[in-house]
Amino acid sequence: MKTVLITGAASGIGLATAKRLSATMQVVIADRNIAGAREAAQAIKAQGGKAVAVEVDVASKAAVTAMVKEATDMVGDIHALFCNAGISPKLPFEEWSEADWDSVIHTHIKGVFFCTQAILPQMCARHSGAIVTTGSDYSITGHPQGSGYAAAKAGIYALTKSLALEFAPFNIRCNSVGPGPIETPLLRKGKSDADWAHHKAKRGERVPMGRLGQPEEVASVVDFLLSERASYITGQIIHPNGGSVMW
């Protein structure tokens, strides 16, 4: 059975993907929130899947290196990687502090950089591997009040394409999934029930399909991209976004 490591796997898109992939793979649930990661691993095991939980702040190289060692000690080879951990502060541009900027850029771009750099050597040695990163519609369109987030997501896409080119000779594919508005804790953060219901309806109305997406609708795309069904697809970004952005 192959093993996939997923960062940001304790909630939202990461969790839905962990659950989906646990039908066919062993899953390493990596998250800053170790209690949530353990809970997710427990839920997968309760369904008959194989999962382990590890703690990591992907913005820290030392933490990522330690996490990958801990994970490989527990599960052995890691065959697939889903770099998904992310944060999404929304602030008017003039209010972005350097700390806000660093935390967004470090979590997203450095997070992907550290995780891929830690796992690619073993994929190269096996001459086989698949990586998916989480981009966003905003990597293409930009986002008011989310300048750092949009910049980070665009950076992830450029990084992913570069990895696709550099590691194609090693039979390693790297793609990005660029979700539109998805019903996740990240999108809901800080909103009351009433605000959330209002936001969901209003935001959904702006999507051609007329609704927000579900985390499972992103998980199925990640599953496709990591699988042999996508064996000739690399360097691409696929957008489960209800038709929000087409390019």
């Binding site: 080119l165 000779p169 599953d223 496709f224 691409q236 696929i238 038709g243």
Partner: protein
């Protein structure tokens, strides 16, 4: 249990044939069109062949409507297409029209025939074929590139017009693929030599495209519409 009928143009060879094989193995019924049976008889499963030219819009429409009277319709996959390379200044109007009619107008009217049926069902998925050339261009392929660029515009517009009706419209854009089509202007040797320019080190196989179509027809892509899956082995990233 059948997953319903997929109408598939260009079933006789190449990507169309392989896509039919893949979809049949997944439990779909196939209504296939082509100007000749080609490899159709190699297919096993629930499939029907109708010999027609996709430029015969009326017959194409009648065949789709006739099928819909007795079957659930799942979607449309428009693979039929041609490329006859010409230096731009040697491109005559007849050649230009033939490419436009087969590559763009055929899918346009196939979609028009399918949409009322899918709308009435409240669900459906359409996959049109463009090409990486739609974005990159290709010397001696101006007319072909124009038709495939047209497919991108058509698909996005249809995606917007049908998004609230449970219908999804997407595109697959292959890079160089191992089919009879490029052999009209390239030897086997020339075709396989193109692998050197592909990061993954090989040209595409019809199976690569078939699996993407299968994904786009399935509920695994339920939040994907108006998108273009570029299946190029990493060639032509931008």
């Amino acid at each position: 249990m059948s997953k319903g009928t997929v109408v598939l143009t260009g079933i006789g060879s190449g990507i169309g044939f392989e896509t039919a094989r893949c979809l049949l193995s997944e439990g779909y019924r196939i209504l296939g069109f082509d100007i000749a049976r080609g490899r159709f008889d190699e297919l096993s499963g629930d499939c029907t062949f109708v010999e027609l030219d996709v430029r015969d819009f009326q017959r194409q429409k009648e065949a789709i409507e006739s099928e819909a009277r007795s079957h659930i319709m799942t979607g449309l996959v428009a693979c039929a297409g041609i490329i006859q390379r010409r230096p731009y200044l040697e491109l005559d109007e007849e050649t230009f029209d033939r490419h436009l009619d087969i590559n763009l107008k055929g899918p346009f009217f196939a979609c028009q025939a399918m949409l009322p049926i899918l709308r009435a069902q409240g669900k459906g998925s359409i996959v049109l074929f463009a090409s990486s050339i739609a974005r990159t261009g290709s010397a001696t392929g101006a007319h072909y590139a124009a038709t495939k660029g047209g497919i991108l515009g058509l698909a996005r517009t249809l995606a917007l017009e049908t998004a609230r009706d449970g219908i999804r419209v997407n595109v697959v854009s292959p890079g160089v693929t191992d089919t009879p089509q490029p052999r009209g202007h390239a030897t086997d040797e020339e075709l396989y030599a193109k692998a050197a320019k592909v990061p993954l080190g090989r040209i595409g196989q019809p199976q690569d495209m078939a699996q993407a179509v299968t994904f786009l027809l399935s509920d695994d892509s339920s939040y994907i519409t108006g998108q273009d899956l570029r299946i190029t082995g990493g060639a032509g990233l931008f």
